[in-house]
Each structure stands twice: as structure tokens, then as C-alpha cells.
């Protein structure tokens, strides 16, 4: 969710239970502006809040002037005032973090013990266990990476890929009309894994390279993992992810307004196939 107009935009997500208290709104409005200035970001967005057992983390995303999709840095804060950078994880570390399960504690310096099960089986006789420590920050980083990869999304045609491959906002995007906003196919994943194998060749012929470079969420499995709600008559469209409980996306049809936020425990809902 963009930091400009954060106070008003967060109201759109109130039906899903995402609210910010007055104190948090005031703190975020000022601290995000300061952050933008200090780090020379083009835009700053509030990505969401990860609720831990003792404390919660607020996560913000700073977008640079280069590529809107790729040039993003994530920061975290516990009191909405002081922001610290989240480390960028190497893939091996990210894999480690994926195997950690359970709630976040709320302490960035908390260390998790990761047991490498493959070595355990090979060396059963010797009974040696290899342990590696993943720091808390690493885990948030890993978690948001998975989360962002799977859930962040935008409406169709709101981003344009220029000839140099740079992705910028489409200024002539006017919002979805009433018919399109009810279809799941109008919403896309905002991530950088163009999996063009899924689209068949016939469809590829009609695609426009500059607009259709994102995957749409209809192809997500299991089917039904996105819940679409129309609030306020059809004045507001809310998309909720059932795989990452707590992620919500809103769009006001007919206008340029859209945004998303995650407020939750930071855990994937593995039981989704049983629950549908």
C-alpha cells in the first residue's frame, strides 16, 4: 500500500480485519516519508505487518527509480519509527528458512536451530547432527520472499514494460470496469517469474509484450485459493488469499486506486486443500 494516502487507503481493507490504530497511522505517515528521503527511494509502500508472539514487525518496501518490479528493498520496524533493512537471502539460506515452522517471536536477534535431515539419515550410525543457525531476520526475509512471490499482485494493465525491460506504472490506466473486476483473471501476480510455459501458443499470439508480462492469479493451484468479495455494492473489490491467511488486496473499480497489505502470523496455510 502506498505511503501517500496511507491513512485513507487502509480504510478500504477494514472489512477483512486489517486496521491501523491512530498512533500507528501517525507514526507511519511521518516515518515513511523520512525513510523515503533518507534512502532516496522513488516510492515507499507499507507491505504489512507480521504478528509475533511478543512483538509485531511492520514491513515496508522501498521502490527505487529503476525497475519498479525488481528494484525493491524491504525494511522492518517494531515501533513504526525506526526502520532497519532486511537482509537479502541467498537461495540456500532461503531454503533453510522455508523449513522453519511456527510463529514469529518478535525478537530480531532470536536464533533458530535448523537441523539438516539429509545428513542425519546418512550418518545414522555415527549419530552426528549438523546444525545451522538461521537468524530471525533471515526468517522474516525468507518468509516475505515466499509471501511476496506468491501473493503480491496488481490489476491488469496497471504496469507497463518499456522497450528496455524497465517496468513502470501505466499512467493511462483508469481502473477496471464493473464487469472485469469480478473476474479473477483481471488480477496478476506482481513478481518476477515470467512462466510463459503455462500459456498456450494461441494465446501467446495475442499477448502484448508491454502489458501482459505478469501471470494472472487464475492459474494458481489449488483452485479457489483466492476469495473475491464485492463490498459497498460493487464499489470496492477485495481479494483475499486463502493460502497466506491475512493477505488482502483492494481495488476501487473505475478508479486508479488499488493496494494490498498483509497482516498475519507469517505462516503459510498448508491445510488449504482440506479446507476448501
Amino acid at each position: 500500500m502506498d505511503s501517500e494516502g496511507l491513512t485513507l487507503s487502509v480504510e478500504y481493507l477494514a472489512t477483512t480485519g486489517i486496521v491501523l490504530s491512530t498512533e500507528q497511522k501517525a507514526a507511519l505517515q511521518t516515518s515513511l516519508v523520512m525513510l523515503q528521503n533518507a534512502q532516496k527511494f522513488h516510492k515507499v509502500q507499507l507491505w504489512g505487518k507480521v504478528v509475533g508472539i511478543k512483538e509485531s514487525y511492520f514491513i515496508a518496501c522501498g521502490i527505487g527509480r529503476g525497475n519498479e518490479l525488481l528494484d525493491r528493498k524491504f525494511l522492518y520496524s517494531q515501533d513504526c519509527m525506526k526502520w532497519c533493512m532486511l537482509p537479502i537471502l541467498a537461495d540456500s539460506r532461503a531454503l533453510m528458512c522455508r523449513s522453519l515452522s511456527g510463529r514469529f517471536i518478535g525478537d530480531p536477534t532470536y536464533e533458530y536451530e535448523y537441523i539438516d535431515m539429509r545428513l542425519w539419515e546418512k550418518e545414522k550410525k555415527l549419530r552426528r547432527r549438523q546444525t545451522r543457525f538461521g537468524e530471525r531476520r533471515g526468517q522474516i526475509s525468507g518468509s516475505y520472499r515466499r509471501n511476496r512471490q506468491r501473493s503480491a499482485h496488481r490489476t491488469q494493465r496497471s504496469y507497463v514494460k518499456t522497450a528496455t525491460g524497465k517496468i513502470v506504472t501505466n499512467r493511462s490506466f483508469e481502473g477496471l470496469n464493473n464487469l472485469d473486476c469480478k473476474k479473477l483473471a483481471s488480477y496478476f501476480h506482481y513478481r518476477n517469474t515470467p512462466n510463459t510455459d503455462k500459456i498456450n501458443l494461441l494465446a501467446k499470439a495475442t499477448l502484448d509484450q508491454s502489458i501482459d508480462f505478469l501471470e494472472h492469479i487464475e492459474t494458481d493451484l489449488p483452485k479457489g485459493c483466492w476469495a473475491l468479495h464485492l463490498e459497498r455494492g460493487s464499489g470496492l473489490v477485495i481479494l483475499k488469499s486463502l493460502l497466506w491467511l491475512g493477505y488482502s488486496f483492494y481495488h476501487v473499480p473505475g478508479t486508479r486506486k488499488f493496494g494490498s497489505m498483509y497482516v498475519g502470523t507469517g505462516e503459510k496455510n498448508i491445510d488449504l486443500p482440506f479446507m476448501l
Binding site: 504478528v51 486463502l242 491445510d271 482440506f274 479446507m275 476448501l276
Partner: protein
């Protein structure tokens, strides 16, 4: 009195908790009584037809007795709940919850769709539609997370005997309640909050009932027989934490405390309220400020489990009769075998006859 929101896939539910005044609920009980009378009639029609044909062996299996639900106004059904999809639409009253529904709801995990008549397709099969599933989840959430500051409610001052193990189930507001300071309310030992809703036993009710106890009508017929017959093992009475139990005794969830406490504001702690978040039922919040407190639930309506959900395994298949010598079929003897046997038997008879004659001859000779 309480309010909550349960999120669903198509639509959400807004839930309101209501306590009826005495006498306002008599209409409903009349309808249910009529439903029960229809069933015995159907059984009587079926029986005479079977008597004409050969009686097929009846299975020995008797389903476990149905545990009766609690009366409206007590136990799980103490409060009534109304739901609506959007504010402004009609409020629908939720039916009282039965123990079978609670027991089944504990074993399944399904999203709510937002349509009260939607079927709940699950294993074990849920006895009811979404309206019943919603009611049983609400009952579990209330029993697990409705808390109040200690001493806000207190038991009535009757000298009740607790020896029968039933426990007290009613309380009144304490007029002399002294509000606790915020620091005490968010104390990590969580000793300043108590549950004011009864815990639901594994049976599915708040008051344990012995399912082996027969009703009065049957007693008149079988009284003498019962005393002679050996009773099957008496089911062990189930106990749960008593009412007004402090939440510090709530079991831990995956090695973390059942509740997380905090203040609403760190900048102005003198005006802040104390907030408790439940870790067992994510989405359940309680806040307290001076003499006021309130419980709230906004979530999907499921418990938090650290391990992923696995549906219960189907019951083991019934074993066949063990195959032994008495039951195994032996092929009938062929004609040749029969003749051979007859020949052998004939030989034996002849031999015996000869020996008998020889003995007679010997005797005559002497």
C-alpha cells in the same frame, strides 16, 4: 453482548451473542418435540413386513448412544447467536449446538463459504450444514477465549456441595470489583484473567452425562433384568477446568503461551488499554480498560495448530471370521473314493463276521 466477525470465502459473517431473558424461548422446544415423534412410527411400519419372510440375521452392532444436547440456557447453549452477512441484512438465529456436532467440528477444518445452507463435506461426515458448523465453532471459540478480569465475576454465595463433581456453572457480576491497573492486566503470568465460559468436555458438552444411563421409560420394563446383567465398563466421568479458571493454567500452544499481552499504545501508556491476543485461536482479542472489558473475534474460525491438519483415518475394517478346520470347506468325496471306502468297510465287516463265527465254532467244540 459480544460481537465478532467470521471471514468466509464468498461472504463473511457478523456474529452477535445474545442472552435470552427467561421465558422467551419456549416456542422453539415445541417444534423439536414434534420432530422426534415422527420417527418411531416409521419403525413400526417396517417390522411386520419382515416377519413374513425368513428372518435374515440381524447385525449385532448397536451404534453408540446419542449424547443429548444441553438445554437452552445452560452449558454450551447458554447464549444464543445471530448472524448476518452484511450489516443491514436480516439476522438469522443459529440453532443450539449438539455434542455430536462439537465432537465432529473438532476433527475437521473447513472454510466457511458464507452461505448458511451450504453442506459441509468432510471426513468424518459433519452432522449438519454450515449453519451447524458455524454454531459449533462459535461454541468452541467462546469456550476457549472468552475471558474477564479476575474478580469481575464471582460465584453466587450458596453453599453448594462440589462432591458430585458437577461444579458450579453460574456466576454474577461482582459489585465490588476494583479495576486493575494495566500493568497487572498485561502481566506475562496471565494470572489476572479468568475464563467465564465453561470449558467443553471431550464429550461435546459442558456437563458430563453418562451415556449408559437409560431413560425412565425403559427402566420399568427391564429393571429386574438390568440388575442381573453385567454392566459394561462404566464410562469414566470427564472433567474439565472449572469455571472462572485463570488463563495462566491454559495449556501452552507449541511451546508458546496461550495468550500474548500488550498495551495498545507505547507512547502514551497512561491512556492505553491492555490487549490480550489469543495464540490458540488466532483472531481472538480481549481488551481491558478500567472497569470495562470486551471480547472480540475477527478471523476465519479455526484453531491454531503447529503441525498441519491430517484428517482422521477411517476405522479399521471388520475382521472376517477366523478360518479354522470347522469352517473350511472340504471337497466332497468322489464316487471312486466312496466305493473304495465301502469296499474297505465291507472287508472289515466280513472279517469280523468270520472271527465271530470262528469263536462260536470254538465254543461249540468245547
Amino acid at each position: 453482548s459480544g460481537l465478532g466477525k467470521i471471514l468466509g470465502t464468498n461472504k463473511n459473517y457478523i456474529v452477535a451473542e445474545v442472552e435470552y431473558r427467561e421465558g422467551a424461548e419456549d416456542e422453539e422446544q415445541g417444534e423439536e418435540g414434534e420432530g422426534e415423534e415422527e420417527e418411531p412410527k416409521e419403525d413400526e411400519d417396517a417390522e411386520p413386513k419382515e416377519g413374513e419372510e425368513d428372518n435374515i440375521p440381524q447385525p449385532d452392532y448397536k451404534p453408540p448412544p446419542v449424547i443429548p444436547k444441553e438445554e437452552n440456557g445452560t452449558g454450551c447453549n447458554k447464549k444464543t447467536y445471530f448472524v448476518c452477512n452484511e450489516p443491514g441484512t436480516e439476522w438469522v438465529k443459529l440453532p443450539p449446538v449438539t455434542p455430536a456436532q462439537v465432537v465432529c467440528a473438532r476433527q475437521i477444518k473447513k472454510f466457511f463459504t458464507g452461505d448458511l445452507n451450504a453442506p459441509v463435506i468432510s471426513y468424518p461426515p459433519f452432522p449438519g450444514t454450515e449453519i451447524n458448523y458455524l454454531r459449533s465453532q462459535i461454541a468452541r471459540i467462546s469456550a476457549g477465549t472468552q475471558i474477564s478480569p479476575v474478580d469481575y465475576f464471582k460465584f453466587e454465595e450458596d453453599d453448594e456441595d462440589d462432591s458430585d463433581g458437577e461444579g458450579r456453572d453460574s456466576f454474577v457480576e461482582n459489585v465490588e470489583f476494583e479495576p486493575l491497573r494495566n500493568q497487572e492486566l498485561i502481566d506475562p503470568s496471565l494470572s489476572n484473567w479468568v475464563h467465564h465460559v465453561q470449558h467443553i468436555l471431550p464429550q461435546g458438552r459442558c456437563q458430563w452425562i453418562n451415556p449408559a444411563v437409560k431413560t425412565e421409560a425403559e427402566d420399568f420394563d427391564d429393571e429386574e433384568e438390568e440388575e442381573e446383567r453385567e454392566e459394561p465398563d462404566e464410562p469414566v466421568p470427564e472433567h474439565g477446568p472449572p469455571l472462572l479458571n485463570p488463563i495462566s493454567e491454559d495449556s501452552e500452544v507449541d511451546s508458546m503461551p496461550a495468550w500474548s499481552a500488550g498495551l495498545t499504545s507505547n507512547l502514551v501508556p497512561q491512556y492505553a488499554a491492555a490487549v490480550l491476543r489469543s495464540n490458540l485461536w488466532p483472531g481472538s482479542y480481549v481488551f481491558g480498560l478500567d472497569k470495562k472489558f470486551e471480547n472480540l473475534y475477527i478471523g476465519y474460525g479455526h484453531k491454531y495448530t503447529a503441525d498441519n491438519y491430517s484428517p482422521p483415518a477411517p476405522p479399521a475394517t471388520q475382521e472376517e471370521y477366523p478360518s479354522g478346520a470347522e469352517v473350511t470347506e472340504v471337497p466332497d468325496p468322489t464316487v471312486d473314493e466312496e466305493r473304495a471306502l465301502q469296499a474297505v468297510q465291507q472287508e472289515q465287516l466280513d472279517r469280523e463276521a468270520e472271527e465271530a463265527e470262528m469263536e462260536e465254532d470254538d465254543e461249540e467244540d468245547d
